[in-house]
Symmetry: C2
Subunit: 309 residues, 2 copies
């Protein structure tokens, strides 16, 4: 197994409130700010409330989804007076935490999100990233709570649209189930424990520890399924079937019921075996899909260590 080395990870950003009604990150960041957390060991920590205006009104966003504003094409386009609030904020965040792809970008960015789906705690990656995957492996092996999972979306960095893409390394921490606008102590505790483990790992990494490689299991997104809709009005005509509701990451087989129409018979799954996630993670008005499907993949991690000067 190869060994890979990286420069020290000296600047870290912890972000919350990228979606203004996902409350765990909002409260975690507020509490870190109150405690004036700006350094853990030799790691400098920035805490960022990504979209304070949306947080103030407890909405996902004001004009457009901030977490879709970070592809290169949007960050390089000039702002105008009529640019949406979130596009302006994306430029500010890119200046503060990036610029994306530049040597000045923070070393690691963790963006805290919540979902109403029964997903537990998930690291979401948009690219293979040995640092982020080692952090996932470490957290997975150390937490006091249930399964910790990793989900990989395949997106080239230039097209990556989410906040963490401005950093050199990064991931979204997606935690649920939690309704929007609500703080649950159990979810809050899972996140703070995870952040403590991340800081612990960073200190060990920066001080020269070698982290052994090995296989980690992740879920790679393969497709998305939309709700059944009325072809003329586009209105949703079925709920998630009770047998699928809350069954994120439970194997789905052909013939299993997936939709429960308000009138008529259950809709069954027709496809290859797959793992559903973000099941019914629905702001219905967002025209979100009903759920995503993934297959399990195994990733061979190299050993990693800090690059000596």
């Amino acid at each position: 197994m190869e060994q890979v080395s990286f420069p020290p990870l000296s600047r870290v950003a912890i972000c919350g409130g990228t979606h203004g009604n996902e409350m765990t990150g909002v409260y975690v960041v507020r509490e870190m700010k109150k405690k004036k957390v700006d350094k853990v060991g030799c790691v400098s920590v920035m805490t960022v409330l990504s979209n304070p205006e949306a947080v103030n009104v407890c909405r996902r966003y004001m004009e457009t989804d901030l977490n879709r504003c970070f592809p290169d094409a949007l960050l390089s386009a000039p702002l105008t007076a009529s640019s949406p609030h979130e596009m302006k904020r994306a430029h500010e965040l890119n200046a503060l935490l990036g610029p994306k792809g530049s040597p000045q970008a923070v070393n690691l960015l963790c963006d805290i999100h919540n979902t109403t789906a029964n997903m537990g705690i998930c690291f979401i990656f948009y690219r293979f990233d040995w640092i982020a995957l080692h952090l996932f492996k470490y957290v997975q092996s150390k937490t006091s709570f249930g399964p910790v999972r990793a989900i990989q979306f395949d997106t080239p960095l230039s097209e990556a649209y989410s906040l963490e893409s401005v950093a050199k390394h990064g991931f979204a921490l997606e935690v649920g189930p939690q309704p929007t606008g609500v703080v649950r102590a159990d979810i809050y505790n899972m996140v703070t424990e995870t952040l403590d483990l991340i800081m612990e790992w960073l200190e060990q990494f920066n001080s020269g520890s070698v982290f052994e490689g090995g296989e980690v299991e992740a879920f790679r997104k393969t497709q998305s399924l939309d709700y059944p809709r009325d072809p003329t009005t586009d209105e949703i005509t079925a709920a998630i079937h009770p047998q699928l509701q809350d069954k994120d990451f439970k194997l789905l087989r052909a013939g299993d019921p997936i939709f429960w129409p308000f009138t008529g018979e259950a809709v069954k799954y027709e496809g290859e075996e797959a793992y559903p996630f973000f099941v019914n993670e629905c702001a219905y008005y967002e025209k979100k899909v009903a759920f995503h499907l993934a297959r399990k993949i195994s990733i061979s991690l190299p050993s990693i260590s800090v690059k000596k000067n």
Copy 2:
């Protein structure tokens, strides 16, 4: 035990979307409209989407809480161009379903709400109402699902601020846990089964059946507890304690932990034994309380029947 008779209950309104992000009522009403339900037996049924503008943007309300717009003082005050959207809508609904306190008002109004709290299905009353309490007793004895509860708030009819107060008889059907913006099939099914039982009871009542009285148990609200807050910023400084989260209607005793501060020690309950409800039913931005407390009461229902002409 006395026997009471009432005129036939010939006009019924089923309302949803009074809060635009509580989705069960929105979908129940939409489906009833699609099926053109306007009569069940000899009962005429109106289906009303109370706040379509708020439903369209999946928010609780646009300018002010519609379900606080129905006290006499507000309904009798003249509208102006600058009246909030919901106040204008309240006047429309009062004209359609009331006027409140008049002989023209619909006989029965059921307003469907959701909560993120683990409350199951609850009938909420703002006054003693033999019709509504008999409906509760009937539904409670017939449903295929878990406990059905009744909650009583003490409010004189003239001050009653909620939509159902415009009808001669009425109640809110409060069902959870369900995140805002989400439809769960299990919750949807509980509500449609409840509505079917209500229609069944109304047909029997109107056709001359006598419903025996007896004791029913209800919860009467005694007080509300707010979250601990920062005295200068008013920000919430504690979550609901994990031991209280999801424990709606479980007896709370002095010394039980109720709040879990983000820093510091658990806050314990100091007070008489009581039953918490609406626990963490929090749109945090709404400045809602953390939970309400109730005591159990026993209500002696008279037998009831339809008044013969």
